[in-house]
């Protein structure tokens, strides 16, 4: 074995997986996991922990894996994370824990994400559940949204002994984990449902089909229903469009719509909810959501092009997703930006007019900003366009809650150290605060707010 390289992880063959919705990555088995774990240098001053938004004791759990003590490894992870099977699959490890790994200086970083996934899956298979030891506190906390930030906040609060109820607007629990991320990247029955069962096992209650801001308000939760603190983890669900001509043509979808139809409403298999299967689909954008939409369309049988205005280096998606997308046959049209959507006489998309771009000086984000090349317009023929340009927070809550400060991007303003908003007893975290980001950052914010809520309620006394 070459200690400079990761133990390779088994994956479905690209040609086969391009036609099914089964999980792409098959994960490590026991032997592979123990071998990969032995690459960990068990650093005293572990950099990987600093790269983890929820500060998992990474060398400690890897040490247990190395010795084959998988249950102990699960317990170590569970102290910091409520959703390890999810994070092991969708975290951008290359920018976080693995990005800081000392092994990465000379060779490849330890495959921390794959090890985390192995431990969590092993715990599912062996019926290991997280445990609550805390004494019950007779205090009710409401959590709005059952996505990553809400689940992690609810899980932590339940572990501290609080009486927690999670309110979810949709008919299914999990937020972006069920409506956004596709089955082939994050299996719903095998992973998401089980992680949520674990949070339920901690005593957390869930109310589906309840839209805070519509069914009732935050003030009602506090004044009428006796919740002493509220956590807002309502995410960033509003899709953005480009505002170019032709965007309302038939066959133009937001990535949110396309993915919600496929994932939440199960249109990828037998379902009453229809989805349009284009012959040739153009996905606009370069993030993880764009990759998810593109790879979904590919699996449904479309030829798929990704149109992105910067170059490959600037693609915001995880490296692994871009790599997988390419392997499966997604065509990348980089340094290209749409200027108009063309449609036929019946209002259906017939093509997309684009302009070529080149990279200029770095902008404030440090990325080189794209500039149009004059006179370089050209057309790509297609019958469907999926806009994946990011999302912004839903104003349903902020517009119905007096005293809740938001910024000009419609994000809720909080104190970073404890998630406290401008309204007493109300905390927030995740995409509702940051705008669209990652599952793990949302979970980190959920944990921070759980601590903040505990401090607030403890200082309030009885």
């Amino acid at each position: 074995m070459d200690v400079l390289k990761k133990v390779p992880v088994r994956e479905q063959d690209p040609k086969v997986r391009a036609t099914n919705f089964e999980e792409v990555c098959l994960g490590y088995n026991k032997e592979e996991a123990m071998e990969e774990a032995s690459r960990c240098l068990n650093c005293k001053n572990a950099q990987c922990i600093k790269g983890c938004p929820v500060s998992i004791s990474i060398p400690d759990f890897i040490k247990e894996v190395k010795e084959g003590n998988f249950e102990e490894a699960y317990k170590v992870i569970n102290k910091s994370s409520s959703l390890p099977a999810v994070c092991g699959r969708v975290c951008p490890q290359e920018n976080q824990c693995e990005g800081k790994c000392i092994r990465g200086i000379k060779g490849e970083a330890v495959s921390i994400g794959k090890l985390e996934r192995f431990v969590a899956d092993w715990a599912f298979e062996n019926g290991i559940k997280p445990s609550v030891n805390a004494e019950k506190k007779n205090k009710k906390v409401a959590v709005i949204g059952s996505g990553p930030s809400g689940l992690s906040c609810a899980g932590d609060l339940a572990k501290m002994g609080y009486d927690v109820t999670v309110f979810e607007a949709l008919h299914e629990l999990g937020g972006v984990l069920v409506y956004g991320i596709p089955e082939f990247r994050l299996p719903k029955e095998k992973v998401v449902k089980k992680e949520i069962e674990n949070v339920k096992a901690l005593g957390v209650k869930f109310e589906k089909n309840t839209i805070i801001g519509k069914s009732f308000t935050i003030d009602e939760l506090i004044d009428k229903y006796g919740f002493e603190a509220v956590f807002i983890g309502s995410g960033a669900g509003l899709p953005k469009f480009m505002g170019i001509p032709g965007e309302n043509a038939n066959g133009v979808f937001s990535a949110n719509e396309y993915l919600t139809r496929s994932n939440l409403m199960k249109a990828f298999k037998e379902s009453e909810t229809p989805i349009m299967i284009g012959k040739k689909v153009v996905v606009v954008g370069g993030g993880n959501v764009a990759m998810d939409a593109a790879r979904t369309a590919l699996r449904l049988g479309s030829e798929v092009h990704i149109v992105y205005r910067r170059s490959e280096e600037e693609l915001p998606a995880r490296v692994e997703e871009v790599h997988h997308a390419k392997e499966e046959g997604i065509i990348f049209n980089l340094l290209t930006n749409p200027v108009e959507i063309l449609s036929d006489e019946n209002g259906w998309v017939s093509g997309i007019k684009c302009i070529r771009m080149e990279l200029g000086e770095p902008d404030e984000s440090g990325r080189r900003s794209p500039i149009e090349v004059p006179g370089s317009e050209f057309e790509i023929e297609c019958d469907a366009v999926i806009m994946s340009l990011g999302t912004s927070p839903n104003p349903l809550i902020s517009s119905t809650t007096k005293g809740l400060e938001i910024n000009r991007r419609k994000c809720i303003v909080v104190k970073e150290e404890n998630g406290e908003t401008s309204k007493e007893g109300v905390f927030a975290g995740g995409d509702a605060v940051t705008g669209a980001a990652t599952v793990i950052l949302a979970m980190g914010a959920g944990r921070t707010a759980a601590k903040g809520i505990d401090e607030y309620l403890s200082s309030k006394g009885n």
């Binding site: 008919h171 839209i211 519509k214 409403m265 009453e272 909810t273 049988g301």
Partner: protein, 295 residues
């Protein structure tokens, strides 16, 4: 699960359900809608609230069987339940926020087409309860499709009923009734019209000529109903609006109906196939060269 307390057939393929939904009944207002799913695998169907009872904690909805999802509802009886029932969604009717004294000064006309009679009813009833009597035009293709006549009569100022084929009361489209009323010298300050998009389009074309401000309630394709998917986007004036969170009611003179009607057609073939399957079972497996089912 949300229990169905009453279920009845109002007219040919039009059904009414009274559903126990405390969270919706506590806070809903006329003009808002709910999203309903019959079973665990059903699609999400948006339906305008037709009546509500805060004390009994119930919501009344009226459904016309047009696709697979609504076909499933046909067989539901009192004692059964809906799998999911969420709301209230969308913004309440503008009338609710208008001072009563101001409304009393106004002559208001409601124009309802077919199933649109159901969502018009709570608005007319709300006005009636606040001492404002509005005139109501109800139109349908034929006599058997006229619904809620008695209920409407009890809350409307004057009720005008018209059928396309003349099988009941007046004969002709709703726009003809508006023209007739104006020819008789009547005048209104505000019109609210709810019904098929094509009807609302023609009502708006006429009321624009009559310089009569007109509110429409749009019912485009939706998935989540909370602003997430953008399927329900419409062009209103110069801007793009989401019917689910910005509406469903808009200034009818600013709505681009031609675009909205095209967008209604997006899933027509797929929906038709699902409907046939719900009605007749899994009978077709492709090979017709039309549907792509064999590919």
């Amino acid at each position: 699960m949300y229990s169905i307390l009453e279920a009845k057939e109002l007219a040919d393929s039009i059904y009414e359900f009274v559903v126990k939904a405390p969270n919706v009944a506590a806070n809903c207002e006329p003009g808002q809608f709910v999203i309903v799913r019959t079973s665990e695998d059903s699609e999400r169907i948006p339906l305008t609230i037709c009546d509500y009872d805060r004390e009994k904690e119930t919501i009344t909805i009226v459904v016309q069987v047009i696709g697979a999802g609504t076909y499933m509802m046909k067989s539901l009886k009192a004692g059964d339940s809906f799998h999911d029932f969420v709301g209230p969604l969308g913004r309440p009717s503008e009338l609710i926020d208008t001072p009563i004294e101001e409304l009393k000064q106004k002559k208001i006309l409601f124009v309802a087409g077919g199933l649109g009679t159901a969502p018009v009813y709570p608005q007319v009833k709300w006005l009636h309860e606040h001492g404002v009597d509005a005139d109501v035009i109800v139109g349908a293709k034929t006599k058997s499709l006229i619904i809620m006549e008695k209920e409407m009569e009890a809350v409307a100022g004057t009720l005008y009923i018209t059928t396309d084929d003349g099988s009941y009361k007046r004969q002709g489209m709703v726009t003809k009734v508006i023209e007739d009323l104006y020819a008789e010298g009547k005048k209104y300050d505000l019109c609210v019209t709810i019904g098929p998009m094509i009807m609302m389009k023609f009502v708006c074309l006429l009321t624009k000529k009559l310089e009569l401000k007109t509110i429409v309630s749009m019912n485009p394709i939706m998935v989540d109903g909370t602003g997430m998917c953008g399927a329900c986007r419409l062009t209103v004036g110069d801007s793009v609006k989401f019917a689910c969170v910005d509406g469903p009611e808009f200034d009818g003179h600013l709505v681009n109906f031609d675009e909205a009607m095209k967008r209604q057609q997006i899933y027509k073939t797929a929906e038709g196939r699902a409907y046939l399957k719900a009605k007749e079972g899994d009978t077709h497996h492709g090979g017709c060269g039309q549907c792509g089912g064999d590919k």
